[in-house]
């Protein structure tokens, strides 16, 4: 057998081999029965030197364990992921929670501020129109008129979207982000959202505000 390889094996047994060499040798060790047998004898030597009395040195514990595990499915790759995840910084989940909470708080404040205007949907609609100009749609639209046969762009519907759609979208957004907010913040947000329902025309702006605050 290769002397350098055996020397590495001896150092690996003592946890004295550099990590990158360990990776390579571990791969070989797991497959090479001769190398594994030598590794096992190194363990026997240690047991004798430490005078571990009462321990059967010829015990085939590894064989017995291996026989039992033969029927077991191989482990999934999740473990390696778990090792990597252990390196995640502790503050990352906290930061995500804080961000979600601040988004929820901002949206509550904004929605409460909109309540007095609930009876004037036109005002809300006007505000939405002024604060959020629609994107300069769409080159494709003009192209559709001039070169309709060549265009692959589906034209936007000419009618404005139903008023309920932004509300649903906002509700979905809140639900989707509820995992990052506390139950109290969630409840406040939803109740504020419900009370502002008549002013649904302003909800689209609320949605955009919530999204922009979140990002």
């Amino acid at each position: 057998m290769n002397e350098e390889l055996d020397s590495q094996l001896s150092a690996m047994f003592d946890d004295e081999l550099p990590t990158e060499e360990c990776e390579l040798l571990a791969r070989r060790l797991s497959r090479d029965e001769q190398l594994k047998a030598r590794w096992g004898r190194y363990a026997v030597m240690g047991a004798v030197i430490r005078a571990e009395r009462g321990v059967r040195l010829n015990a085939s514990l590894a064989g017995r364990v291996s026989a039992v595990l033969l029927a077991e499915p191989a482990l999934l790759a999740t473990g390696a992921g778990a090792l990597r995840r252990a390196g995640l910084r502790w503050w990352q989940p906290l930061a995500a929670t804080a961000l979600a909470a601040s988004v929820a708080a901002l949206s509550i404040l904004w929605l409460r501020a909109q309540v007095p205007f609930a009876g004037t949907p036109a005002a809300g609609l006007a505000a939405a129109t002024t604060t959020l100009p629609r994107p300069a749609v769409l080159p494709a639209r003009s192209a559709a008129t001039s070169r309709a046969a060549d265009s692959y762009v589906v034209p936007r519907p000419s009618a404005p979207p139903p008023v309920a759609v932004p509300s649903t979208e906002l509700a979905n957004y809140v639900v989707a982000h509820s995992m990052f907010s506390t139950p109290v913040a969630r409840r406040n947000l939803l109740s504020a959202f419900m009370t502002s329902e008549p002013a649904a025309a302003g909800a689209e702006e609320a949605l955009d505000n919530v999204k922009s605050a979140a990002h």
Binding site: M12, A26, S30, R41, A43, N58, G79
Partner: protein, 202 residues
């Protein structure tokens, strides 16, 4: 180089589905684990059964092992818990409880108990292994013997041995390797001969 790097590299392989790497971990720690379990149960065969159960539990729990502690520390805890549970369940069994009571005096003879569960061939082989290793160590040159004993008996790192022996770390690595090679040459014959005898008996 990091402490426990070799165990971690094997653990990662197991976590990626390489069962062969787990064999290496069992081979490395089986004696230590049996010795540990024998603090709780004195019957070597029972200790081996508990150690086997601990290894299997460890294998099944390996996806959750994140490497926060050394692998052996983690395995040690599993083995201790398994042994404690085994003792509790054994003590609930009246027949085994009585047997245990009869043998729990201070003058308990471990070798005598060992004979109850061990075949004569196994006992002879264990003694043969022990005497072969000891004879091989006695035959080693002084510097090799000191290096291997400091490592295995005292648990010193290569750096600590280098300081103690006033030589470079590379020399320590080489001495320990050469000591193991010299012992292994004799030990291999015993294992191969012993296995042959066991097959003849079987």
């Amino acid at each position: 180089m990091s402490a426990d790097a070799s165990d971690l590299s094997l653990v990662r392989r197991v976590q990626r589905g390489d069962k062969g790497a787990f064999d290496a971990l069992v081979l490395k720690y089986q004696h230590k684990l049996v010795k540990l379990v024998m603090r709780y149960v004195r019957n070597p065969a029972e200790a081996e059964d508990i150690a086997q159960e601990a290894f299997i539990k460890a294998y099944r729990a390996l996806p959750q092992f994140r490497g926060d502690s050394a692998f052996y520390t983690w395995l040690y805890r599993i083995a201790i818990n398994t042994a404690k549970n085994a003792v509790v369940s054994r003590d609930r069994s009246p027949i085994e409880y009585d047997l245990d009571r009869n043998s729990s005096d201070e003058s308990y003879d471990m070798q005598g108990r060992m004979k109850d569960s061990e075949t004569p061939e196994g006992l002879v082989l264990t003694d043969e292994i022990r005497s072969t290793v000891n004879a091989a160590i006695d035959a080693l040159p002084e510097d090799l013997r000191t290096a291997i004993v400091l490592r295995e008996l005292e648990g010193l790192s290569y750096e600590e041995i280098a300081a103690a022996m006033d030589c470079p770390v590379g020399t320590v690595r080489s001495r320990i390797f050469r000591a193991r090679e010299a012992i292994d040459r004799r030990l291999r014959e015993v294992f191969e001969g012993g296995l042959g005898r066991a097959e003849e008996l079987g």
